[in-house]
Symmetry: C2
Subunit: 131 residues, 2 copies
């Protein structure tokens, strides 16, 4: 019967829809300690997602989408959870990640260039064949 999300809160189904993650994955992330804090519950135990939760999930999604392993996201979440005073560590973690992503982008781009060459070879072979 459609759980009514309490004022300002979203059900897990709504959170799923807005983040593009499945409800399974959202629960898994919470279980695994990737959320900033445990997600709130209604009196009946249903999850209530706030906008802050969604904002965090979106950040988390960016980290994951750029290849940060779960365990490192977890470490970052732990730092944020701890509160003020460790900004230097958080910054270092993100900069580290940034460097890795950049070098991976460069690598992929280089490989792509070689693949493009191959594509070019097939294309001109086919052109020659059809004349």
């Amino acid at each position: 019967m459609t759980v009514i999300a309490p004022p300002q809160g979203l059900t897990i189904a709504e959170a799923s829809e807005r983040t593009g993650l499945t409800t399974h994955t959202l629960r898994y992330y919470e279980r695994d300690g990737l959320m900033l804090r445990g997600v709130g519950r209604t009196s009946s135990g249903h999850r209530v997602y706030t906008e802050r939760d969604l904002t965090w999930v979106r950040m988390l999604t960016r980290l994951r989408a750029t290849g940060m392993p779960i365990r490192e996201v977890k470490a970052y979440a732990a730092l944020c959870r701890q509160g003020d005073g460790n900004e230097t560590e958080r910054l270092a973690l993100l900069q580290n990640h940034r460097a890795r992503v950049l070098s991976q982008l460069a690598e992929v781009t280089e490989h792509l260039g070689a693949i493009d060459n191959k594509i070019g070879i097939y294309q001109s072979a086919l052109e020659r064949a059809e004349t």
Copy 2:
């Protein structure tokens, strides 16, 4: 006792060194049908890698490094193995892959931008803190 590579051939250890793949991985690729043709053997059954084999392994590495799944590499290998006449399919496969890689690059780049913003925020927060 150091297997003497036959004229123009390389042992799996040498192939490993030149490709950066472990001998385990090289054997696994062959087992799994990713090689163009089975790698040659000496009379005693040891693998003999030719330059052509290495060239193929390097292509294969590029495909893998850009995220092509093993099963698709296998499909591409099968097309090449089949010989002339399916260049259109090979081209389509590569172009398809190229498109996926490009959109993935774009996505990662976009996420990276957001992460960069976060980094900027931490940096200016830290600067403000130390004055």
